[in-house]
Symmetry: C2
Subunit: 223 residues, 2 copies
């Protein structure tokens, strides 16, 4: 097992080096990098669709889509006339910084304020891999139950914000929102928390305001 | 990369050897091994609770619970007075056959007809690791969208059955059940498909009948 741990440590160290290069590239162009992580089907792509719509008149955004297979998500984003690059991992369970580095070369960064990076749907493996993002956001849906922060703590511990999505389904679920928030804060007291429905649009403006402020702060820092 | 692939192949080969030992152990006791895989929050544990309740007067069942952290799921199963062993993987994104082998030593197999093995919530990594099960079941919930079989094909390709859970939420979702089933059959035409709600109990009896028949067939084969 010692050999394996060493291999993994080497991979993570190399990944962190490339992630730092990616971050410098984003900084150079004054672009806020926002990574989105969640379980499969929590609504990352739907949240992106809503967010891009709400941003349209404000910050200029681009998207890197990560999936194990298919370009379905990239095609959904393309329909919004936003620059998008699809990464198909072909079985790999998470994005790595080198994949994002290749995708960055295909994105017109000089025309953007925010770049979203949607990871593979997976609450475990992506947690260990920095991609070069400035902000890491976990999306959790109300239909998944309250206890995901306790059962998958690493991804919540390393996040800046939590979006609790599908709030429109709350009337039909035995879901205790206060308990879910309590569990998330127990793992990470500093989380910014947003409650959204991509079906009704509820809560989207608060989340987008926060993003726009973070993008403005990043650009101010770089001046 | 060559080195890494070799390491992974060695790990998978060693895992398959131990899985075969686990299967022989289950065969020896005439126990049907049923692996449950899904995304986080699809309802594997809720399905188990319903299934164990429906089996109570029929087949005798035990459970191995796999989680990245916490023994919350094992405590839910214990409440039903069923033998249960919790495996906490401490960060590992999937169960491995050696973990299940250790757990088997703590389960009274001679008193069982069916052993459920609930994997970590993850639609990617568990697909590659046999555990010694006879039957592999994927659970997918209606709230996750229709396209998961296309986006995470490996786990659906290697499954015997698909349980589409949370059908009680269909009236509130833009979910096309026929399309979801079509996508699943495109990846794996041989899937047995069940539609369940663990909230209302709908569809549980069909699923349990199928399990009981599989358990009886396994026991008949071994005689």
């Amino acid at each position: 097992m010692t050999n394996l741990i060493t291999v993994e440590q080497k991979i993570l160290r190399k990944n962190a080096d490339i992630a730092a290069e990616n971050r410098r590239e984003l900084d150079w162009h004054g672009v806020l990098g926002v990574a989105l992580l969640s379980a499969p089907g929590s609504g990352k792509t739907s949240l992106l669709e809503r967010t891009l719509g709400a941003l349209a008149s404000g910050a200029r955004a681009g998207v890197i889509e990560g999936d194990v297979q298919t370009d379905r998500d990239a095609r959904r984003i393309e329909a919004l006339a936003v620059p998008v690059v699809q990464i198909v991992t072909n079985g790999t369970c998470h994005l790595e910084a080198r994949m994002v580095q290749e995708a960055l070369a295909q994105i017109p960064l000089s025309q953007l304020d925010i770049l979203f990076i949607e990871n593979v749907g997976n609450l475990v493996c992506p947690a260990a891999y920095e991609l070069g993002e400035h902000v890491r956001v976990v999306v959790m849906s109300t239909t998944e139950g309250e206890d995901k922060p306790l059962k998958y703590p690493a991804v919540f511990r390393n996040a800046d914000a939590l979006v609790i999505n599908k709030t429109d389904l709350l009337p039909y679920l035995p879901y205790d929102l206060a308990q879910a928030i309590g569990f998330a804060r127990r793992v990470n007291p500093g989380l910014a928390i947003f409650e959204t429905s991509c079906t009704t649009g509820a809560g989207i403006s608060e989340w987008v305001d926060w993003l726009v402020k973070r993008a403005a702060a990043t650009q101010a820092d770089l001046k």
